[in-house]
C-alpha cells in the first residue's frame, strides 16, 4: 500500500470514528413501554419514609431537575402507602432549573418555594440562567388553592393533618378518616408522583379532570431521591422512576389507545388520556442476607392497587387491600426454588401500595434471586415497580431497579396477541414459577 493510500485509509478511519462519536453523543432515545432512565412527563418516587419522632431516623430527600431549556410547571402529589392522596403543590422550573424537596421539611409545613416570571418580577425566587427560559404562568397568581407555595409555612392544623394521614391516624384532611397503614411507629410513609402540568392546579390525579385540563406530555423531568438513616449511618440514592408520555411530537398506540394500560389508567377509566406508559409487572431481583459481611437486602415495592382508594374508617384496611400477588419464587445460588404461594403460605407478601421489605422475609435462602409476578392472584394485571438496596451499616449504597422482565404493556400485548394472533410484534420471556411448575 502506498503512503498516500495509508493517508486515505487514516482519513476514512478518522471520519468513521468521528461519525461514531457523534452518534454516541446524541441523547439516549426513550422507548415508550419500557422503563427507561430518561427525562419524562411523570416521575414516581416509589417509597418514602420520614420519622416524625426522630430527625436522625429514616428520612428522604428529593432532587428534581428540568432537562430542557423550556420552563415547565410540575405538580407534586403525596400519597399514603394505601394510595390515598393527601397533599399536593406545584413547582415551577426555569429552563435547566433544579429544585430540592426534603420530606422532613414538608412534614414541618415547609414547601419548596418557586415562582414563574409573573410572581417573580425581580427574578430572585426562581432565577433564570443565560440559557434558560423563564415565562409567566398566570394561573399561579392569586390562585389561593393552587398557587405556588407562598412565602410561609403551612398552618399548624394542616401540618398535623398531613402527618396524621401519612401515619395511619385520623386526619382532618380526610374528614376524620384514615388513609394509611398504622405501623405504630410515627413514621410517615407513602409515595410521590410528579407530573408536568400546564397550570397551577390543586387537583389530585385521581380527579378525571386532571387529565383533560391539567397534565402535559413534556419529556423534561428527571431526578433522584436519597434515603438517610443518620442513627444507623446508612444512606442510599436511586433515580426516580420515569413514566414517559407520547403526545409531545409523536403518537404511540401503546399509550394512546383506550383500553391499553397507562400509568394513570386507574383514575381515567383506562381511556389513555394521560398518555403515560405503564410500569412493569414481572420482576427479578438479586438478594444477599448476611453473606460475608453484615449486609441486608431491602426491596422497595410499589404496586398500583388498580382502583381509586378513598379515605376509610380507621382500624381496617380498605378494599382492595391487602393485595395478593400472582407469584413469588425464591431461588438460591444453585437454582433451588421455593414458590411462596404454594399452600398459600404467604398470600399477602407485599400487601400495600408501597412498602419496603427485607428479602429475608421472602426467601429461605441466604442469597440468590427473587422472581416476582406482581399481578394479583387472580391474574388481574397490575403495574408495579421494584428496586433493590444492599445495605451495609456505615456505608453508602445505591438503590437499583430490579430487572424488569415483563411490563404491563407487554402483558396487554400478550392478551391482544392471544385474541388476535400476529397483532403483537414484541416478544418477551415467561420464565418463572408457573413455567417451572
Amino acid at each position: 500500500m502506498l503512503k498516500s493510500e495509508y493517508g486515505c485509509l487514516g482519513l476514512l478511519v478518522g471520519i468513521a470514528v468521528s461519525v461514531g462519536a457523534m452518534s454516541w453523543a446524541t441523547p439516549v432515545s426513550a422507548r415508550v413501554g419500557t422503563i427507561d432512565n430518561v427525562p419524562a412527563a411523570t416521575l414516581l418516587l416509589p417509597y418514602f419514609e420520614s420519622d416524625l419522632n426522630d430527625a436522625n431516623g429514616s428520612q428522604t430527600t428529593v432532587h428534581l431537575a428540568n432537562s430542557s431549556a423550556t420552563s415547565i410547571l410540575a405538580h407534586v402529589t403525596l400519597w399514603t402507602d394505601l394510595a390515598v392522596p393527601v397533599m399536593n403543590f406545584n413547582i415551577y422550573f426555569t429552563g435547566y432549573d433544579s429544585v430540592d424537596i426534603d420530606v422532613r421539611l414538608l412534614m414541618q409545613g415547609i414547601l419548596p418555594r418557586t415562582a414563574s416570571a409573573g410572581q417573580d418580577p425581580s427574578d430572585l425566587i426562581s432565577p433564570k440562567g443565560p440559557l434558560s427560559q423563564d415565562i409567566n404562568y398566570a394561573s399561579c397568581t392569586g390562585n389561593a388553592s393552587g398557587q405556588l407555595p407562598p412565602n410561609g409555612l403551612l398552618d399548624a392544623p394542616t401540618v398535623a393533618g398531613i402527618r396524621a394521614a401519612l401515619t395511619g391516624q385520623s386526619s382532618i384532611l380526610l374528614s376524620g378518616q384514615c388513609g394509611a397503614v398504622d405501623h405504630g411507629d410515627n413514621i410517615a410513609r407513602g409515595y410521590i408522583t410528579i407530573d408536568t402540568v400546564n397550570n397551577c392546579t390543586s387537583r389530585y390525579p385521581n380527579d378525571p379532570n386532571y387529565f383533560t385540563q391539567d397534565i402535559t406530555f413534556q419529556p423534561s423531568l428527571f431526578g433522584s431521591y436519597t434515603r438517610f438513616n443518620r442513627s444507623e449511618n446508612t444512606q442510599s440514592t436511586e433515580n426516580m422512576v420515569s413514566s414517559e408520555a407520547d403526545g409531545f411530537g409523536s403518537v404511540d398506540p401503546q399509550v394512546s389507545t383506550p383500553g391499553r394500560p397507562t400509568f394513570y389508567a386507574s383514575f381515567n377509566g383506562s381511556n389513555a388520556s394521560d398518555h403515560r406508559e405503564a410500569l412493569g409487572t414481572v420482576w427479578q431481583a438479586r438478594y444477599f442476607s448476611g453473606v460475608g459481611v453484615a449486609v441486608t437486602t431491602k426491596m422497595v415495592v410499589w404496586r398500583d392497587p388498580g382502583v381509586t382508594v378513598s379515605p376509610f374508617a380507621c382500624g381496617a384496611l380498605p378494599s382492595p387491600f391487602p393485595l395478593t400477588q400472582r407469584e413469588i419464587v425464591a431461588f438460591d445460588e444453585q437454582e433451588h426454588a421455593t414458590i411462596l404461594n404454594v399452600g398459600n403460605t404467604l398470600p399477602f407478601a407485599l400487601p400495600y401500595a408501597t412498602q419496603e421489605v427485607d428479602t429475608a422475609t421472602l426467601s429461605p435462602y441466604q442469597s440468590g434471586f427473587l422472581a416476582m409476578n406482581l399481578s394479583k392472584a387472580d391474574d388481574t394485571r397490575l403495574q408495579s415497580y421494584v428496586s433493590v438496596r444492599q445495605i451495609v451499616p456505615g456505608a453508602a449504597a445505591d438503590g437499583a431497579p430490579a430487572h424488569q422482565m415483563i411490563t404491563q404493556s407487554q402483558l396487554a400485548c400478550e392478551d391482544a396477541n392471544n385474541a388476535t394472533p400476529g397483532s403483537c410484534t414484541q416478544t418477551f420471556p415467561i420464565m418463572f414459577g408457573r413455567t417451572i411448575q
Partner: protein, 224 residues
C-alpha cells in the same frame, strides 16, 4: 480521707456556690416578637429579620460586681446549614455574627441540617455534624457577644436577629430564638470588706495607745 482534703472540698464547694450563675432566657416567641417563626428566604432573596423587645428588667438583672454573660439560643430547621449566615444586634446596633457559612467536608459548606444551639462566648467552635442538628450544644459565635451586654445585664429594647440564605436551593425556617442573660456572683473571699477608719477614730486610738504607754512607763519606774 484527711481532714485537710475534706476542708479543701468544702472550700471549693463554697466557691462554686458563690459563683453559680443565675440565668434568664428571653425567647422571641414568649415575648411576642416578630417573625419568631418564619420562612428563611432561599438565596439570592433578601435576609429575614426577627425582633424581640427585651424588658427593662434585663438591663438590671445582675447585681453590681457580678459577671454578666450573654448568650443567644437559635433554633433553625434547614436542609443545608452551610448556606446560612446569622447575626444578632442589640438596641444600640452593636452586633455579633453567630454563624457564617459554616464549613463542611466539601464545596458549598456544611451539608448538615438544622441548628439548635446556644451561642456563647467561650463555647466550643461550631462544627458541622452529620447528625441533626448539624450545630448543637453550646458553641462559640463567630464574633463575640460580650460587647452587646451592659454593665448589669442586657440592654433593654429591640434586639434583632438577621438570617440570610446565601445560596440557591435547599430551604428552611427560623423556628425561634432568644437572648439569655446569666449573672455570676464572684466568690465570697473577694468581697471581704476592707475596714475604713475615720480621722477621729484614728486620733482617739492614738491618744488611747499613748495613754497606755505612759502608764506602763510609770509602773516600771516605781518598781525600780
Amino acid at each position: 480521707m484527711t481532714i485537710r482534703s475534706v476542708c479543701t472540698g468544702l472550700f471549693l464547694l463554697s466557691l462554686a456556690g458563690a459563683a453559680a450563675a443565675q440565668t434568664t432566657t428571653y425567647s422571641c416567641s414568649a415575648l411576642g416578637g416578630s417573625n419568631c417563626t418564619a420562612r428563611i428566604l432561599d438565596g439570592p432573596q433578601a435576609a429575614i429579620t426577627s425582633t424581640l423587645q427585651l424588658p427593662a428588667a434585663a438591663a438590671t438583672q445582675c447585681s453590681a460586681g457580678s459577671t454578666v454573660t450573654l448568650a443567644v439560643q437559635l433554633n433553625i430547621i434547614h436542609s443545608w446549614i452551610g448556606d446560612l449566615t446569622a447575626a444578632v444586634a442589640n438596641p444600640s446596633a452593636s452586633s455579633s455574627t453567630l454563624l457564617s457559612n459554616l464549613a463542611g467536608a466539601g464545596v458549598g459548606g456544611c451539608q448538615g441540617s438544622d441548628v439548635s444551639a446556644l451561642f456563647q462566648d467561650g463555647g466550643t467552635a461550631a462544627a458541622c455534624s452529620g447528625l441533626i442538628p448539624a450545630v448543637g450544644g453550646t458553641v462559640a459565635p463567630v464574633s463575640p457577644l460580650a460587647p452587646l451586654a451592659s454593665a448589669n445585664g442586657a440592654p433593654s429594647g429591640q434586639w434583632t436577629l438577621t438570617v440570610t440564605d446565601t445560596a440557591n436551593n435547599n430551604e428552611g425556617a427560623l423556628l425561634d430564638w432568644g437572648v439569655s442573660v446569666s449573672c455570676a456572683a464572684l466568690p465570697n473571699y473577694e468581697y471581704v470588706p476592707v475596714p475604713t477608719l475615720s480621722v477621729w477614730t484614728l486620733l482617739l486610738t492614738g491618744v488611747g495607745l499613748g495613754f497606755v504607754a505612759l502608764i506602763v512607763l510609770r509602773r516600771r519606774r516605781s518598781i525600780r
